[in-house]
Assembly symmetry: C2
């Protein structure tokens, strides 16, 4: 069986084309690896990348790409709006096919150790590699962002990295590495209003920290556009850490009901990047109240692609 993992490393340069090209280069034309996509964001000064590939090939490619980012990005000059702590901000690893989470955990461990060994960039482990429960998510690690962490790490022992001494690398900052069961879903809900205050209010209803869903940490209300009509709107931008457990239709329906309280309609859902078919099939399963002819609906045996992937394996 061919093993595949998914990874979405994030680099802290969304502006300089020549830098971005060099960071992306190791992901191109590499047998056993597919660069699904990358979307540099100049406002965020951030480069998210999506990769699918065989574990060993992925490890080599990520390490080559990180070497470039550490060489070319100076965090003292970088000015992103997105939370981040280093030139390579996060490297998260997910099982995609015939790989256990334990194998992903080991791979993340190796990548973290190599990063510190080769570049002396301190490493924070997250997800299944977290040394402490508060580091299973990114929020506690990233508190205060690069600038805040740079200062805090010198005096607060609880902010110290998991690999490396208690100080950040002078230009590269620090890097977060870890394996997770499930790729986050990046889901925006589009409201038929330009009032961002309403979007922010609604965002607070679904965010775990303020009483919402445990699988939703990151949510923000932002001005945006409805793609289908070009209308100016406000969106709620949502990061769902386990969309099989907290499904998109449940979030969507809850926001629809709450938006009505403000006299606002929900216009659309927006999905950023790739998503596992199962997440969307789950929405169809709910909406059509699916059953099988002889029992409950079974995603594993009733979806053709699952059989195709098994045969190909």
């Amino acid at each position: 069986m061919a093993k595949y993992i998914l990874s979405d490393p994030n680099f802290s340069d969304g502006k300089r084309k020549e830098v971005i090209d060099q960071i992306i280069a190791p992901y191109r034309n590499r047998p056993g690896l597919k660069l699904i996509g990358y979307e540099p964001d100049a406002d965020f000064d951030r480069l998210p990348v999506e990769l699918l590939g065989r574990p060993e090939v992925m490890k080599d490619a990520i390490l080559e790409s990180c070497a470039k980012a550490y060489e070319l990005i100076d965090m003292e000059k970088q000015t992103g709006h997105h939370p981040r702590i280093g030139a390579v901000d996060t490297i998260e690893i997910y099982p995609a096919k015939d790989v256990t989470i334990e194998e992903c955990r080991e791979l993340a461990e190796e990548i973290g150790k190599e990063i510190f060994k080769r570049h002396q960039v301190p490493v924070f482990f997250t997800g299944k590699n977290a040394r402490r429960p508060d580091r299973e998510g990114l929020t506690a690690i990233r508190k205060g962002n690069y600038e805040g962490l740079r200062d805090a790490v010198l005096k607060d022992p609880s902010r110290a990295p998991d690999l490396g001494p208690a100080k950040l690398h002078p230009t590269a900052g620090a890097t977060i590495v870890g394996a997770l069961e499930q790729h986050d879903a990046y889901f925006n809900v589009v409201l038929d209003t330009t009032d961002v205050a309403i979007a922010k209010k609604l965002a607070s209803y679904i965010r775990g920290r303020t009483g919402g869903f445990t699988n939703i940490q990151g949510t923000i209300g932002l001005p945006n556009k409805h793609r289908r009509t070009g209308k100016d709107v406000a969106i709620i931008s949502i990061e769902v850490s386990n969309p099989l457990q907290t499904p998109l239709h449940r979030i969507y329906n809850l926001l629809k009901a709450e938006a009505a309280r403000y006299g606002v309609n929900v216009l659309a859902g927006q999905i950023c990047g790739t998503i596992a078919a199962e997440v969307l099939v789950q929405t169809a399963e709910w909406y059509l109240q699916l059953e099988a002819i002889n029992g409950p609906w079974d995603y594993k045996t009733q979806i053709l692609e699952n059989h195709l992937l098994e045969l190909e394996g």
Copy 2:
């Protein structure tokens, strides 16, 4: 790129275990072929099989299996309620991965010719292999079923098979072979009533022939059970020939609205066998009004499994 096709041959014995086992045997333990499933139905006296595999392997396996069926099933003794014309009733071929419909058409052509050559069983070509427009679907070919066709073929030249003389095989009847773009979806809609007359009425609203959807030929109203509650119910059993063009949510919503006219709720949708993920993702896309961040929702690039299948290819 590894080529894969899908096929769902139907054999006319749903009762005799020893016969069913011999028909299924050629599909087991064959590298490059996966027997997705088979569900003998004693009432219908019919054995539907679902297969996924490489074209050449599939062709050999189907021909071996047909040889057994022609040897073991006598249509003069078979008594099924399901429309059928032979021991091997239909062999339909669909593209599953990296195969064109033209390649499927050629494969169906070869299978049909081999069947006539080896067994002198007359063949009717359907789908993309149809010699006449009225044979693109099964209804005209199967008119009168085995018994009706056996007599009609002797006197009505318009009922003659495409391969073979104008008479059926004395025990094996005739076989329908053809390539189709899209696997039918078998979709039942479960009504909260035991009144089958209402189900039949609603079935007529969606059937193409009586003013409904062009992609729905077969629909029936039947007594059944709701799997989730065990309640006795009536179902509308629907065969959708192109569920990407006539999506399940549109059928479901129309039936919901029409059922309300009779004071009846829709309890569930039931899916029989496998379905392409895209069919259900399309329902989610509609329900969540999906867009991508930078444009329209794109099934091809935004579903992880598509990238995985490309890498594996």
